[in-house]
């Protein structure tokens, strides 16, 4: 839930999604769901010469389970807030 919320705060920011097939796709984060499926707009694929497969694709839906990393815009991530939220979520789960 925490990570889902973090991604929601990053909508309309540019992110780079690296997949488990080694494709890296940069685009504007349009939406995310509870499975961390991601929709990106205005995409470009890293090293397009080697990966021309998506030349004509302008936006895409990525299945959360195939994501290895997402590179986030550091200036839009409040690390103190993240740490506090993580501690709170962990504490809340401990009480259950």
């Amino acid at each position: 839930m925490l990570i889902f919320s973090v991604f929601k705060t990053l909508t309309d920011q540019r992110v780079t999604v690296e997949l488990k097939n080694d494709l890296s796709i940069t685009g504007v984060l349009k939406s995310v769901d509870q499975f961390l499926n991601i929709r990106l707009d205005s995409i470009s694929v890293l090293d397009e010469a080697r990966h021309p497969h998506m030349m004509a694709v302008k936006n895409c839906f990525i299945r959360g389970s195939v994501v290895r990393y997402v590179q986030l815009p550091a200036e839009h991530v409040d690390t103190q807030l993240l740490e506090d939220a993580t501690r709170r979520e962990v504490a809340a789960q401990g009480k259950r």
């Binding site: 929709r39 497969h53 694709v57 195939v66």
Partner: protein, 95 residues
């Protein structure tokens, strides 16, 4: 689901877990992101020759097999000469 809503009736590219690339018109989908494509073709990439297109017609793809679904800009896609493209196939997903 981060919704495939906007993709219905559009030409899309499906990338599958095994690295295959399939283009077709998204006829429908369900909650598990199982997908039905109409008028679909597999695009087979190779480093030695141009892209080969294999007709698949009406095709159902299980949601678990899907890596990504991309909306194709028809104008750009039609401007591309597939026969001139040399590229390795997309790698399969490795967990």
């Amino acid at each position: 689901m981060s919704s495939l809503q906007g993709y219905v009736d559009r030409r899309v590219l499906l990338v599958l877990q095994d690295g295959r690339a399939i283009v077709g018109v998204l006829a429908g989908y369900d909650q598990k992101s199982n997908v039905v494509l109409s008028d679909s073709k597999e695009r087979i990439y190779s480093i030695d020759e141009g892209v080969e297109e294999v007709e698949l017609g009406l095709y159902l793809v299980k949601g678990d097999m899907i890596v990504l679904i991309g909306e194709i800009d028809e104008a750009i896609d039609q401007a591309v000469d597939l026969a001139s493209i040399r590229a390795e196939p997309i790698l399969p997903i490795r967990y």
